[in-house]
Symmetry: none
Subunit: 192 residues, 2 copies
DNA sequence: CCACATTCTAATACCAAGTACTAATAGCAG
DNA sequence: CTGCTATTAGTACTTGGTATTAGAATGTGG
């Protein structure tokens, strides 16, 4: 049986979320309707064509900060001065929170801060060695977490980074990270 | 003056690195040659067409987004005695490591330990309040992390949980978590 | 049951950014 | 002049669409 228009459009949205690389033809087969119907649906729903969707995704990726591969950062880095300071934003979405109470799981806040701290360090390889953290108040669904990081100490092979995460200027998380760093040749040496 | 073939090809590579969204036509204008010449160059250099390049970037991006939301618990809990102790396993897969060096990102180890610590606490709601952690040695792709947690102290509204994560019986991570707990009615009261 | 609306399908012309291929031209080297 | 490389030109075809028009199928109210 064929779905109603509304249901089909809902289905379309779901399918595209799961796989945004679907062509109209593939979607038509999935829904058992003609290609034209799918195009009309896309119009109504304001969904751009395959190539535009792909381009968008690619651009989002490309716009990010150069020096560190952006896939390795949780949260969007909006400012970064290597070995000095940085800022990143993470919007708390439903995949970040406990279903029960809508409070963000601590490890996402940690991940944001940790990624930023590591991204700050100007070295071939940077790894967290230790950290001391405090979750000052629970963060809830929909809140935007701004993490401010600054380097507070540089030693021979360690950098200390302090991160404060705020929601509406209110501190929600605090962390002191000790980041271990190496240049590639040095690591190669160690590997032997 | 027009560049030599070699120089033009070098230039092409540079330009595409700076802006991978260039069409053949735009590149032709940049180099002051015909579109066909650019296509021949791309052939020789093994550079795919614009759409393929964009698609590649988008796919890379998409895979990350996916791996970034390991929904529920991180690591599989294999033993749990509420308010006493627990064990969980996490196998380090490629979505957990830095592409560059195959070392696990700290926040995954943290997430495993944090989730276990919270799971241990027998309360309606349990949230991490603070933690002190040490990454003892880097963990690599393919290694199985066994996290052992035990409650070390119970106060009126706080529980302290110690977590040790081992790979082949060798400690790789240590964490002391302070978990804040509440019963639902209590939290409701606070909300007011 | 008819009339009309909604929904769907079909068909056509067109576009961007290509691939794949053939052929022609320019410039220079031996 | 012949041969070779580099370059340009042109044609047919491809994908994944847009935009538009027309017609068919289905449902709904009066």
């Amino acid at each position: 049986m064929r779905l109603s228009k509304k249901e089909r459009q809902k289905k379309l949205i779901r399918e595209l979320e799961a796989d945004p690389f679907l062509t109209d033809e593939q979607m038509a087969k999935l829904c058992n309707v003609s290609i034209q119907t799918i195009r009309l649906d896309r119009m109504e729903l304001g969904i751009p064509e395959l190539r535009e969707r792909i381009k968008h995704m690619a651009e989002k990726n490309f716009d990010q900060v150069r020096s560190l591969s952006p896939q390795e950062v949780i949260g969007e880095v909006i400012d970064l001065q290597l070995d000095k300071s940085g800022v990143s934003i993470l919007e708390i979405r439903k995949e970040h929170v406990f279903e029960r109470n809508g409070i963000a799981r601590g490890h996402y806040l940690f991940a944001q801060a940790n990624s930023l701290a590591i991204g700050l360090v100007d070295a071939e390889i940077a790894l967290t060695a230790a950290a001391e953290i405090r979750f000052v108040r629970p963060v809830r669904l929909g809140e935007k977490c701004m993490a401010y990081a600054k380097v507070v100490e540089v030693q021979s092979s360690r950098t200390k980074v302090e991160v404060q995460t705020k929601v509406n200027n209110e501190v929600v998380f605090y962390g002191l990270f000790e980041v271990y760093r190496t240049e590639e040749d040095q690591l190669a040496k160690e590997e032997r």
